[in-house]
Amino acid sequence: MTPQEQQQQLETEVRQAVRYERGLAVKMLIALGAVALVVLLRLLVV
């Protein structure tokens, strides 16, 4: 691999990794939503 190709590979992989890590922030909100759902059910049932 030439240095240019290595740099391109790094940039592509970093872009993918950053996208994945941003996705985790959204997944955290989904998990918090699951908690909110449990609280809501509790309020409705009791």
């Binding site: 740099q7 790094l10 992989e13 990794a17 955290m28 699951a34 908690v35 009791v46």
Partner: protein, 494 residues
């Protein structure tokens, strides 16, 4: 009396601290994308010496070396040093065969007198590789660990930043087909590796470079003395903390994935985790001057990091304390005990829902494999108690019909007995988990042991191991290196 009652309530709620702190840790993951180290990375391929300490590892070494030779890394910048700790099996022959197959890339270093432990073995290798100037970086790994092809280059690119002293990877459980225990470990590694290490990246303080995947710059190893600590059972944690204490960064690279074989019996797991837990107790004492003392030079003294460290270490004590306080309250103020019980278990349920659902989303492929064990992590009985705490009416309805059917409803003392049982359970679950260890290997242990773990919870098993480590440390028991046996069960398509 009122003051004592509230002290007891506080002690009950202390039982929720580990899960609340774990939830805080998981919340930090949402900020991980803002703390990534990639801006300071460049394509960087230092001359890397890979150190594999080996004592009777013939079953796994060959495959591990083959995988290392297939890494996406320039072949002339990679050397594998197998430090054979006086193995008595086929290890020397396997290494000799690999040295012949990959001339110049695989080196066999033999200690004729061994058995002193991993740290001594590593130091034998380090003395050799730091003696010449070929080595620019050192990767310390275990003989069973399988590296995915891009993993090493994903790690070395962080060393392009001279402020970084060491890098670690995401270790995943790789035994196939595996069993219930390896699946529990698989889930545990999502939480302890993929999740916890990300939040530690956010904090800027990593608790431990995984023993199977620790990459050091040469400068870092030399700065911490060029040797691995031999005085404790937690040599990898000591190396990590010393690196951070000297002001160097330690980075967790979550996309560099390596696979490890983990114990598939409780006896094997007990041996491994007792060593880890005892090592952590030793580290806590050894570094007692850094905890909860914020420092400009490093982040190990931050309040958050201290909470992460001690909430896990003290979990068994907190569980026993919560149970004991609930039982005491039961006898002096039943109504208050009932309210404290509800507050504790509802907190536990909410944190459990958050942690479990988020963990399964962090690593979906692993999550699909281990989701049952993720759900059962606290154990069936704790799950029922959590449901009873959050929805007592429907559960009471079910209990009424169920017990009436067998004619037991209204039996004298039954309700009080059930209530007391639920109060005891937080601490008592550890006893049941211990029974699972005792049952293994005895009559019908193949069935009763997993059954007891699914009832008591894998979490309780880990807690009772930590408790046993405290007992051993207090008794001043011998510090000896009990090696975990590896049989070559890692089967991944990397």
């Amino acid at each position: 009396m009122i003051v004592w009652k509230w002290i007891l309530v506080a002690a009950v709620m202390a039982g929720a601290i580990p899960l609340v702190v774990a939830s805080y840790q998981f919340l930090l993951i949402g900020w991980h994308f803002r703390r990534l180290h990639y801006a300071r990375c460049t394509p960087y391929f230092p001359r890397t010496a890979i150190l594999i300490p080996a004592w009777n590892e013939a079953a796994v070494l060959g495959a591990s070396i083959d995988r290392l030779m297939r890494l996406e890394y320039p072949g002339d910048r990679l050397r594998v040093f197998v430090i054979d700790d006086a193995s008595t099996d086929d290890t020397p022959r396997v290494v000799a065969a690999k040295a012949a197959e990959y001339p110049g890339s695989v080196v066999h270093l033999r200690r004729e007198v061994g058995g002193q432990g991993k740290a001594h073995t590593l130091n034998h290798g380090l003395a050799r590789i730091l003696a010449d100037d070929w080595t620019q970086a050192v990767l310390i790994m275990d003989s069973d660990v399988i590296y995915e092809p891009p993993s090493l280059r994903l790690m070395t690119r962080h060393l392009a930043d001279p402020e970084v002293g060491a890098v670690t990877a995401y270790i995943k459980e790789g035994s196939r087909p595996g069993n219930y225990l390896t699946r529990f470990i698989g889930y545990e590694y999502i939480t302890a590796q993929a999740a916890a290490r990300r939040s530690q990246n956010v904090l800027g303080a990593i608790a431990c470079l995984a023993g199977g995947a620790q990459l050091h710059s040469r400068a870092n190893l030399e700065a911490i003395g060029g040797q691995i600590d031999t005085g404790t059972l937690a040599e990898d944690t000591i190396t990590t903390l010393r690196t951070e204490l000297r002001g160097a960064k330690v980075v967790f690279e979550p996309h560099a994935v390596v696979w490890a074989e983990e114990p598939d019996t409780i006896t094997g797991l007990w041996k491994q985790r007792l060593r880890w837990a005892r090592g952590n107790v030793q580290v806590s004492l050894l570094f007692r001057r850094i905890w909860f003392r914020p420092n400009r030079g490093h982040r190990l003294g931050s309040i958050s990091f201290g909470l992460f460290w001690f909430s896990l270490l003290l979990q068994p004590v907190l569980m026993i304390m919560a149970s004991g306080s609930l039982i005491t309250l039961f006898f002096i103020d039943k109504s208050l005990a009932w309210q404290a019980f509800h507050a504790l278990w509802i907190t536990n349920l909410l944190t459990y829902v958050f942690i479990t659902s988020f963990a399964l989303l962090i690593d979906p492929p692993a999550g699909r494999r281990v989701w049952r064990e993720a759900v059962m992590f606290p154990g069936a009985i704790s799950l029922i108690i959590m449901l009873a705490a959050i929805a007592p009416v429907p559960l009471r309805f079910l209990a009424y019909h169920g017990l009436s059917h067998v004619g037991a409803y209204g039996a004298g003392g039954l309700a009080g007995g059930v209530e007391l049982f639920t109060y005891v359970w937080l601490g008592g679950s550890m006893l049941v988990a211990y029974l699972a260890k005792v049952a293994e290997g005895r009559f019908a242990g193949r069935f009763t042991s997993p059954l007891l773990i699914y009832l008591a919870g894998y979490g309780s098993l880990l807690c009772v191991v930590t408790f046993a480590a405290f007992v051993k440390q207090l008794r001043g028991a011998d510090v000896k290196w009990d090696k975990t046996e590896k049989t070559g069960k890692v089967a991944i398509s990397a």
